[in-house]
Amino acid sequence: MSKKDLGLLILILVVGTVVAIINPRFLLPINLANTSNLIGLFGILSIGQAFVIITGGIELSVGSLVALLGTLFIDFIAVREMDWPLAFVLIIALGGIIGLVHGWLITRLKLQPFVVTLCGLLIYRGVARFYTADGTAGFAFGQNFPELEFLAAGRSWGVPNSFIALIIIAIVMWVVLHRSVFGRYLYAIGKNEEAAKYSGIRTGRIVMAAYVICGVLTALSAIYFAMYTRSISPASHGQFYELYAIAAAVLGGFSLRGGEGSLIGVILGTVLLQELQNLVNLLGIPSSLNFAVMGGVILIGVLVDQQWGVFRARRLMLEATRKGAAGAAAE
């Protein structure tokens, strides 16, 4: 665990302690389970985003994708009465294909990631709204899918299955990012794509793979979100979720210039963001301040991190200077 991650963990614990002191109900198992459920949902989304950010890209369309894929999933199983495993596979595949198209536009046709995914943001939500004719996709009363609901919204030993899913995904993705050749190439491309190309790496494919991973994880979390809300108004569902995901990554030490960040960081970033939302409700802070609190904490977090680095560098420098001066005097 890097110093940065450790700092974030401490922040999370400190905030948690303060909230628990003010309102001890914060530590009720049910509250922890509820919050960790959402950590699971947003965490999966944020890991996908992190893979794209590492390459120096960005994926702005995830919020709209959560709406589109969620709408389709519910429509498939609730209205078209498809078997849910089939619908599940279809949605995941669709997420992967959309990621592939983004990757293709970015690497082969050399469009900027911001532009491609901004268009995605606009288009997918539009398509979802058109699909439902600006209505809502939802289950009928009493429509139930026991296995699916257990996997998506159930609990095992009190722990939400979505959170367990996040842990499994996080472990796998940690290995991929920090131990595999693919992960190493991702970091390299994020820092210096030209040089990676000169080293004989098929950078296009690697970057495309990152967008596919993001698409697949987004699709997975879209299904989770759909099963959580059980009803989707495409006009608003998932709005701004790309910002949550990006904010989690940034809090977790990712640089939007690429080539920096750790998987643990993005998970901790997600945890902090959800803790903040939980805090707003538990401490009875006006809901209108929810976003402001989030923005304020991100800003302070990034600022402290940055200033702490500067401060340490300067202290080291000063120490060395003092030591040098003392040595010179002794001579």
Binding site: A188, A195, A196, M317, L318, G324
Partner: protein, 521 residues
């Protein structure tokens, strides 16, 4: 394998018997860029175990040729035959696959990865299993001997971001060695290496040759070429100007083929026309971030060229950055013409007439996307503007003047500097400062990657500046240059000035002794 080794050894013992089929041959290679013919029907061949020195003026097409071999660019016409297999053009993978290793002129390392990861990048040892996990232990054991071989003074897990330029160049070389290559291309690998490291590199080349590996070695330091090359290929304007076999290789011949006439390079620059004047810039107890515990005292006088020598990482670049206001100084003070000088930024330095030609051209020297004229006018834009509005004609006029003064080779002053050859880019960096009135001119490796003709011109320019009363501080790792050009030589050792030599004490030995912290004779 044994046979290859054997033939390699034979090559080594007697270069004249090399009659085996060439490993690589180029036929009529032509490459054009809009407005420029970089290579014009060039042909050459490289035999196994042969060291070829490739020389030519800036913009002659050397790097272009190597980029074609490395698979980075495709030639318009011509064939490349590797190991008997003919290609119209190579891809990076094909090039690596045929055993060609390439150290680029501009460094291509990943700052966020460590040294080991960089050296084996793209060829990581893998653990068993389908996941393609990196075998980190194996990687470490493989890297250690390579680092030793290039004489690295840093460990395999250092992040590249923490290395100096020269150290990074060592990493690049270690990388080339790590490839089981049959041909190693070194595009100006020594351009920022000081003498000790250069020696090590030349030894590495000799050792490669002994293993039957071919080397193409590009350098503007002709004496290095003289030392290791079996054959010298000279490029001029994208065409083959001539080939010199081992016995015919000598400095003057190379120069003659390169620029078509003989040259007396340093004589012009050597003698100062006037006695040095008062102290222009004086650093008192300045400390830099590289060595915050070592104060530096240094005076540069009007009308002199002060050479600043030292080993890799001795802190010269850091000192230059402090003097130019880019980095803050940890304690100490600066005096300009006896008056206290406080530098908050490079803009302050420029305003008081202190200019810097930085060592990293691509990142800090010029703006590759701007035209020559725009680069030259940039530091002094208000002089090219009326009521804050830029006058393109004034810019062009200044640039034209500098272009002809310095002999910048480009279709026009509106050419994007990114398309110029390295040497011509360096001239643009110089030009932007020469167009203003320097009081103190700091040059960090000013002739890095500059051809011999242009070098002479730059030396001449430096001397002219000094004669006009400018204080010139020249940081250089090129021993000949330091001794040949300077009026005095200051030597740095681990962040401090270990001594200053006057002209009568100039010698390679003295500089080297000071550089390692010993007393000169």
């Amino acid at each position: 394998m044994a046979q290859r080794l054997l033939s390699g050894m034979m090559n080594y013992s007697d270069t004249s018997i090399v009659a085996s089929a060439p490993f690589l041959s180029l036929e009529g290679v032509r490459k054009t860029y809009p407005g420029v013919v970089a290579l014009d029907g060039f042909s050459m061949e490289v035999r196994a175990g042969e060291v070829i020195g490739l020389v030519g003026e800036n913009g002659a097409g050397k790097s272009t040729l190597m980029k074609i071999l490395g698979g980075v660019t495709r030639p318009d016409t011509g064939t490349i035959t590797v190991d008997g297999l003919a290609h119209d053009g190579l891809t990076v993978e094909a090039s690596i696959g045929s055993g060609i290793a390439f150290v680029h002129q501009e460094l291509n390392l990943f700052e966020n990865l460590d040294v080991a990861a960089n050296i084996f990048f793209g060829r990581e040892p893998l653990r068993a299993g389908p996941l393609k996990l990196v075998d980190r232990a194996k990687l470490r054991t493989q890297v250690a001997p390579l680092l030793k071989r290039v004489g690295a003074n840093f460990s395999a897990d250092t992040p590249v971001a923490a290395l100096s330029l020269a150290q990074q160049q060592m990493v690049e070389i270690a990388k080339a060695l790590s490839i089981k290559a049959r041909l190693v291309i070194l595009d100006e690998p020594t351009s920022s290496l000081p003498i000790a490291e250069t020696d090590k590199l030349l030894d590495v080349i000799t050792a490669l040759k002994a293993e039957g590996i071919s080397v193409i070695f590009i350098s503007h330091r002709l004496h290095e070429v003289e030392r290791v090359a079996d054959r010298v290929v000279v490029l001029r304007d994208g065409m083959l100007a001539g080939t010199l076999s081992k016995s015919a290789i000598n400095h003057d011949q190379m120069v003659k083929l390169m620029i078509g006439r003989m040259l007396k390079e340093r004589e012009k620059a050597a003698e100062s026309a006037r006695a040095p004047g008062s102290v222009a810039l004086s650093a008192n107890g300045v400390r830099t971030s590289a060595y915050p515990d070592r104060p530096v005292d240094l005076d540069v006088r009007h009308g002199e060229i002060l050479g600043l020598a030292g080993l890799v990482g001795s802190g010269r670049t850091e000192l230059a950055r402090v003097l130019f206001g880019i980095d803050e100084s940890f304690g100490g003070s600066l005096l300009l013409d006896g008056k206290e000088l406080v530098l908050g930024s490079a803009a302050d330095a420029v305003a008081s007439g202190i200019f810097l030609v930085p060592e990293d051209r691509k990142l800090t020297g010029i703006l590759l996307d701007l035209s020559i004229a725009q680069n030259i006018s940039l530091p002094n834009l208000s002089a090219h503007a009326r009521r804050s509005l830029v006058s393109a004609s004034a810019e062009a006029a200044t640039a034209e003047k500098q272009k002809s003064n310095l002999g910048i080779r480009a279709p026009s002053v509106a050419t994007r500097t990114g398309t110029l050859s390295g040497g011509n880019q360096q001239k643009v960096v110089l030009a932007k400062w020469l167009a203003m009135n320097p009081k103190v001119m700091i040059l960090d490796e000013p002739t890095r990657g500059i051809d011999i003709g242009a070098k002479a011109e730059i030396y001449g320019l430096m001397r002219a500046l000094a004669d006009a009363g400018v204080a010139v501080l020249m940081i250089s790792s090129d021993m000949e240059e330091v001794i040949g050009v300077s009026d005095r030589i200051a030597v740095m050792h681990e962040g401090q000035i270990s001594g200053i030599l006057d002209r009568e004490h100039f010698s390679q030995e003295n500089v080297l002794l000071l550089a390692v912290g010993k007393r000169p004779k």
